[in-house]
């Protein structure tokens, strides 16, 4: 009776565990296995190269490191510009203000759209020299026609443009999480320091910021993980890697797999990149605990 009941209980988790094992656990193990081989993805023979793939990534693949730098650059802009914007918007909405719900609904429209739609719509708006390009038209109208150009085709401006469109698409996430965090701060605290004669800036510095540190770190971790791995937006926005100028690590992995048919190398790149991501978020997490202890 007891055994029958336990078996019955396993039926509940069986579908989930089966799908999870086949489509997560097995590929996860294979990535580590394949990373040690040289394999074109088709032939039945794989050549064991040990850590050769990893050595090649570290010492002989400048395009990989350029991609890492590019992703780092986009992430830096997302961490600063995008998150500061999100925080300011959340702070502006965290009060008795008209249209609060309207703003909240609008700011989260870009995040629900796909990267393909966002990339193509923005490409249409900003990449033509004339015509539909509103930024170029404005530049020409205010007497700076020499600055008007194809923002996404010029290697000098392409990456920054990508980062800004990425921020446009992503700030709504930070905004919602920051707003939820701000709303948990008890109003009485603000009133108390107000009675003590603190001005708006002082209460922002002494109450809002310290109490929001855990939320800020959370958003920072999510931003780093999300932005470092972003690549679909670049595919749709730039339509090429611009000879490496807008390449990012996941695009390199995709190129190793589909372009040069080096499946083993692609897996090794995936592992290397995954380890870097885990280390970064772990450091951020430790940093947040330190910050909380200091308080």
């Amino acid at each position: 009776m007891k055994i029958k009941s336990t078996l019955e209980n396993y039926i509940f988790v069986l579908p989930a565990v089966a799908i999870f094992t086949i489509f997560y656990v097995i590929p996860f193990i294979w990535v580590f296995q394949l990373g040690l081989y040289d394999w074109d993805g088709i032939l039945p023979t794989k050549v064991f190269v040990g850590l050769g793939n990893f050595k090649e990534i570290i010492f002989q693949d400048p395009s990989w490191w350029q991609a890492m730098r590019n992703a780092g650059y986009i992430t830096l802009i997302a961490l600063t510009f995008q998150n500061i914007l999100a925080f300011l918007l959340a702070w502006a909405c965290d009060r008795e203000i008209r249209l609060k719900n309207f703003y909240r609904v609008i700011f989260f429209i870009p995040p629900v759209l796909s990267e393909i739609v966002v990339g193509m719509a923005w490409r249409f708006i900003i990449n033509d020299i004339d015509g539909a390009n509103i930024i170029n038209r404005t530049l020409i109208n205010i007497g700076l026609p020499q600055l008007a150009h194809s923002w996404l085709s010029d290697p000098k401006t392409a990456l920054t443009t990508v980062a800004l469109v990425h921020s446009w698409k992503g700030f709504g996430w930070g905004f919602l999480i920051f707003l939820a965090g701000l709303q948990t701060i008890p109003r009485e605290l603000y009133e108390a320091v107000h009675v003590d004669g603190a001005n708006a800036w002082q209460s922002f510095r002494k109450i809002t910021i310290p109490l929001m540190i855990p939320v800020i770190v959370l958003v920072a971790i999510l931003t780093v993980l999300g932005t470092m791995q972003a690549f679909v937006l670049i595919i749709s926005l730039v339509q090429s890697e611009l000879a490496g100028h807008t390449s990012v690590p996941v695009l390199r992995i995709l190129a190793s797999m589909r372009g040069s048919s080096r499946f083993g190398y692609a897996c090794a790149q995936g592992i290397g990149f995954g380890v870097i991501l885990v280390v970064i978020s772990f450091i951020q997490y430790r940093f947040s605990r330190r910050a909380r202890q200091i308080q």
């Binding site: 988790v13 796909s114 996430w173 679909v232």
Partner: protein, 282 residues
């Protein structure tokens, strides 16, 4: 001494500045989408001449051309089919597992649950390479079944987490009553637990629906034939073939974006909940 009027004027000015800031960002959010919509009603000739947000003349034939000639009708139905199948799959599979993790006792329960949660936190950037190999071996590549199963797996961990959190807080009395009435465990799950979980199921449905509708990379890798492609991959292919036909492309983008925007506006309460809950996970 500063008067009442001073403070009132100061308050009004600050309020105006805050609104100006919020409105300018809101306009920046909406402008590209309105521009996309407006351009989809223009023609090849007028798109670079008629630069107003409201076109001088509305041409609806772009939508007809995209839907019939561009094949967007087919891709649209594909996307609907994948989204519906994956969401139904996730709701059943995840709620069964979450109910077991919350209510039933069996050896290995905690380890299994921890495994699902760990999967949610460990990023595996190259996993699509291995998935491609796996689906090839199983002869599931270039099949809808292969794609649907992969996408069910993608949404599984988060959905199990959301549902288990809900079941943990749910009172047990109703289930006890059903058990005394002779209801089986599966019967209790279906007749008692699932109906009670409607609010959190709404979050799970909306969240996964957005995710599947917007998914690109797995669909790109899994499908070779156009026949099976969902909208996102079709758009990218379409862009390669009709590089310069912007009105047609904008019609395709609108067809892809509109369902999501409508669902979002109708269900935004649940999406906001999902975001905040998802953030707690991290």
């Amino acid at each position: 001494m500063k008067t009442n009027i001073y403070y009132k004027t100061k308050g009004v000015i600050i309020n105006l500045l805050i609104h100006a800031f919020l409105i300018s960002v809101a306009v920046t959010c909406l402008y590209p989408l309105l521009w996309m919509l407006s351009s989809s009603f223009k023609t090849q000739e007028t798109i670079f001449k008629d630069l107003s947000l409201i076109p001088a003349k509305f041409h609806f034939q772009n939508y007809y051309l995209a839907w019939i000639q561009g094949g967007f009708g087919r891709y649209f139905l594909n996307s609907i089919f994948y989204t519906a199948s994956v969401v139904i799959g996730i709701v059943i599979v995840a709620s069964l597992a979450a109910y077991a993790f919350s209510r039933l006792r069996f050896p290995g329960r905690n380890i299994l649950f921890i495994m699902f949660m760990a999967a949610m936190m460990i990023p595996v950037p190259g996993s699509f390479v291995a998935l491609y190999v796996l689906l090839n071996k199983l002869h599931l590549r270039n099949t809808p079944v292969g794609y649907i199963l992969c996408m069910i797996n993608v949404g599984l961990s988060t959905s199990i987490f959301l549902l288990k959190t809900f079941f943990d807080k749910m009172p047990k009395e109703l289930e006890d009553a059903a058990r005394i009435d002779g209801c089986s465990k599966l019967g209790i799950w279906w007749n008692v637990a699932l109906p009670l979980a409607k609010p959190v199921l709404a979050v799970v449905v909306v969240f996964n629906a957005l995710n599947v509708w917007n998914e690109y990379i797995l669909a790109l890798i899994i499908f070779d034939s156009k026949h099976f492609m969902p909208l996102q991959v079709a758009l990218q292919t379409f862009q390669g073939e009709f590089v310069t036909n912007y009105p047609l492309l904008m019609a395709g983008l609108t067809i892809t974006a509109l369902p999501i925007i409508i669902v979002y506006l109708l269900m935004q309460k649940y999406i906001v909940k999902g975001v905040t809950a998802g953030a707690i996970v991290g």
